[in-house]
């Protein structure tokens, strides 16, 4: 055997015997006259000649080529049906110097895997795809493929492929040609020896494009399946010439390799080392915890209003204040479609105890920014609760008599300072003042941690002071 191999010049990138996975075989698993063997030999020789054996990662598909890894003495990954271009994307984005070869049949690539191939091509993944078009599902025993010619009889088209029922054969080269990124697109055939020579060239060009880091290349290769076509190998080749090349015209469709400057690389962000990564993650917003004398409190707060009134950030501000006082805190928003209707609410809990449920079904505190929020939550408040009402917007009075209510024209106070969107700061300040929940200094310290627009910091602090003055002038009437 070894001597024979030497005589006939086996590609070095092929294993000597195909002993993978405990199956002791020395012949290929392909049928006599099958095109897969011819094509894989051409690829193996190209790997040798281009000197890329160590760098190559060969992706085996699901189809008759599923065992391609038997043959290639290269890195090998066996992929699920049709997904090799996605697998190749993952590989190539991990090991950039690898030469990734995706070898796929027509069921695999043009049927189940159509999405993956189109998107990999459209991202211009710098991989090489060899598309073996034998117009049939070989491995599963000869069913219709997306590339099966009209009228052809297969196991699932016993009366021939019918255009009305099954549509037309898909031209993958033509589809690829509709995309901008691919740098090399060609259709070849291994039906004749001239065809094999052209295929050999195309395979090398497509691989070279990847080696040079230029971009995505795609070579469709028409290939015989004598077994499932029910023909002799010789007849299969003449049928290819007559039937297949008519549906799938051969030739080079695109070659922009020489004019390409390489795959457009996205803006490079350097790989951060450990210290830089921690800095990125914790950097500006790191909050010092003040551990001494934790106040013994639990506040179950609901903050509610229109989307855009800063309801969620009011909650964030309150929770941040609690956190810096070493309280346990939780912040849970209403979200999704609930918010699209224009209303938003958030549950905030501050407690010296570990917080169980973060949901506030029966609030002890409500900051009501608008009428509908008051309508919604007033009935749910616990007895003895506190409600802060934004009286700039809410016209009505609170009806319940078993709760404490504080009315404050939050929107007007914010508007007078020229920052309408800071009504939320007024509401939180008012609550802290009337409840004595947390000191005002804590609030002032936390505003910069939560504020998105740092240029509004001074205005926000001014609003805190204005609110304090208002609350002093209008003390809450205890129930």
């Amino acid at each position: 055997m070894a001597e024979l191999i030497q005589r006939f010049g086996k590609a070095q990138s092929f294993y000597d015997g195909y002993t993978r996975k405990g199956i002791e075989i020395e012949t290929t698993h392909y049928c006599p006259g099958c095109g897969h063997g011819t094509i894989q030999k051409l690829i193996g020789e190209a790997i040798d000649d281009l000197g890329i054996q160590d760098r190559t990662i060969f992706l085996s598909p699901v189809g008759c080529a599923v065992f391609a890894y038997y043959y290639y003495d290269t890195g090998n990954i066996q992929c699920s049906h049709g997904r090799a271009p996605a697998v190749g994307t993952g590989v190539k984005r991990t090991v950039k110097d690898a030469v990734v070869i995706s070898y796929q049949g027509d069921g695999d690539l043009a049927g189940i895997g159509m999405t993956e191939i189109i998107h990999a091509a459209n991202r211009g993944e710098p991989i090489t795809v060899f598309f073996i078009n034998n117009a049939i599902y070989g491995m599963t025993g000869g069913q219709m493929a997306p590339t099966t010619p009209l009228g052809q009889i297969t196991q699932t088209t016993p009366f021939g492929r019918d255009v009305a029922r099954d549509g037309r054969p898909i031209g993958m080269v033509e589809l690829m040609n509709a995309l901008v990124p691919p740098v090399y697109i060609e259709r070849c055939s291994v039906a004749t020896s001239q065809g094999i020579i052209k295929t050999r060239k195309a395979i090398r060009k497509a691989l070279q494009a990847q080696i040079d880091g230029i971009g995505f290349s795609f070579v469709e290769i028409l290939s015989p399946c004598p077994t499932n076509w029910g023909m002799s190998p010789v007849k299969a080749r003449s049928w290819m010439e007559k039937e297949m090349t008519h549906h799938f015209p051969l030739g080079l469709v695109r070659d922009t390799i020489s004019s390409s400057t390489g795959k457009a690389t996205s803006i490079p962000y350097p790989y951060l080392d450990d210290a830089q990564l921690v800095e990125l993650l914790t950097g500006s917003a790191a909050v010092p915890l003040l551990k001494d004398d934790i106040p013994q409190v639990t506040h179950k707060v609901k903050i509610a209003g229109f989307g855009g009134q800063g309801v969620l950030s009011a909650g964030e501000l309150l929770a941040t204040c609690g956190m810096t006082e070493a309280l346990h805190v939780s912040w849970l928003p209403s979200y999704g479609p609930e918010m699209r209707g224009g209303s938003a609410n958030v549950s905030v809990i501050l407690s010296d105890q570990e917080i169980g449920s973060p949901l506030v079904d029966h609030p002890e505190v409500l900051l009501a920014f608008n009428g509908p929020s008051l309508d919604l939550f007033e009935p749910k408040m616990v007895s003895g609760a506190t409600i802060v009402v934004n009286s700039s917007i809410i016209q009505r009075q609170v009806e319940r008599t078993d709760v404490n209510v504080y009315y404050i024209p939050a929107t007007d106070i914010a508007k007078n300072e020229g920052l309408l969107s800071a009504a939320n700061v007024v509401m939180v300040t008012a609550y802290l003042l009337i409840s004595n929940a947390l000191p005002l200094e804590t609030l002032v310290r936390c505003i910069p941690l939560v504020l998105r627009k740092k240029s509004f910091l001074d205005t926000n602090i001014a609003i805190v002071n204005k609110t304090e003055a208002y609350v002093k002038a209008h003390p809450m009437e205890k129930q």
Binding site: S80, T94, L277
Partner: protein, 357 residues
């Protein structure tokens, strides 16, 4: 101490980066999109890889590819997306590739809605795809645990060459809590089985195919052996007030948080309740539940599903004690008051002498 108020969704991305994850592949779906969004920012800004794929099928196969090439990889999705990943999860298990997959559960079946449910339990814990395999499944119940569990998930995945799923829910993802960004940054090591496109790894093959039945049988048995080892090594749970309890809740995720409040409320009314909160559901805290059953203490499973975890609790206690079920479906969560009333009612009934009384 570095503490930040952040959502569970964001904390997962922080944990991933601190855990040495270098590749995030994602596809948007509520309520997991925020994870992909945060990853898009932080993975890119730190020179790691973020890519939005064309579908969850592509996502899981990109994970397969990058994991084959030795990377620490992750994605995040929700029910419909995880379902699409089923085949890929099976391939990952078959090829013994490590990966981390977060499932922010939403309500089903079908498109259902985007509110929390725990109805992906069977899909995730029992594997999600074809074959005799399982995913290690961690169940965080706070933003801090979203960080901690995601961070350690990569180490676990590499150790056992398994997929680690983080089975969470919309509330845990949406909720902001203080998160401590703790510990050193971890890193994956070179894997002797991976395919790096170099001479040293050239002989390596990533595949789930075993063309001889005895070999595939051995492969399957090896997997089961690994799962036994995993059960020994990493089974994790929290017990709250279980020591003197006369009734114990079993719940994970957001529901465990609610149950914690119910336990406090019941105790205030003189009923000694406790809570066993699994932090891993594969491996399942079977022994801990067995120990409670040995003490003849009735259990109450509170779950946002039709009882998917409750079935595992039944298996663990084997009928020795009553297992009450408090099940909510469709995106609602039970309130503390509702649970309080229901449990008191059941306890009174069983004292009167139910089938187990």
């Amino acid at each position: 101490m570095n503490c930040r108020l952040m959502k569970g969704n964001e904390a997962a991305v922080y944990g991933a980066l601190m855990g040495g994850c270098t590749h995030f592949f994602g596809y948007p779906i509520t309520p997991a999109s925020e994870i992909a969004q945060a990853a898009a920012y932080y993975f890119t800004a730190s020179g790691r890889t973020f890519l939005q794929a064309e579908s969850e099928i592509s996502v899981i196969n990109m994970l397969y590819g990058a994991a084959s090439a030795g990377a620490r990889v992750m994605t995040a999705s929700s029910g419909p997306g995880i379902a699409l990943m089923g085949e890929g999860l099976s391939y990952l298990a078959g090829a013994r590739l490590p990966a981390v997959v977060i499932d922010m559960q939403r309500a089903g079946p079908g498109l259902g809605n985007i509110w929390p449910e725990q109805s992906d339990y069977n899909m995730v814990v029992k594997g999600g795809g074809h074959g005799n395999y399982a995913n290690i499944t961690l169940t965080p119940a706070s933003a801090q645990e979203m960080f901690d569990f995601t961070k350690k998930a990569f180490q676990i995945a590499d150790t056992y060459r398994m997929t680690v799923c983080i089975l969470s829910d919309a509330y845990i993802g949406q909720m902001m809590e203080p998160v401590e960004i703790s510990g050193p940054v971890l890193h994956g090591q070179r894997k002797e089985w991976a395919v790096y496109g170099d001479k040293a790894s050239r002989k390596n093959l990533i595949s789930s195919i075993y063309m001889s039945a005895p070999l595939l049988r051995k492969h399957n048995e090896d997997l089961q052996q690994t799962y036994l080892q995993v059960a020994q090594d990493i089974t994790d749970y929290e017990e709250i007030s279980v020591a003197d309890a006369e009734f114990v809740f079993v719940a994970y995720g957001i529901v465990a948080r609610i149950c914690h409040s119910v336990v406090q409320a019941l105790r205030q009314q003189g009923i000694k309740a406790g809570l066993l909160r699994p932090k891993t559901v594969f491996p399942f805290p079977t022994a801990a539940l067995g120990a409670i059953a040995d003490r003849n203490i009735p259990l109450g499973v509170v779950e946002l599903s039709n009882g998917q975890m409750a079935n595992d609790v039944d298996l663990a206690v084997k009928g020795r004690v009553p297992v009450f079920r408090y099940l909510t479906m469709g995106g609602e969560t039970p309130t503390v008051r509702e649970l309080l009333t229901a449990v008191k009612c059941d306890l009174a009934e069983s004292k009167k002498g139910g089938p187990h009384g």
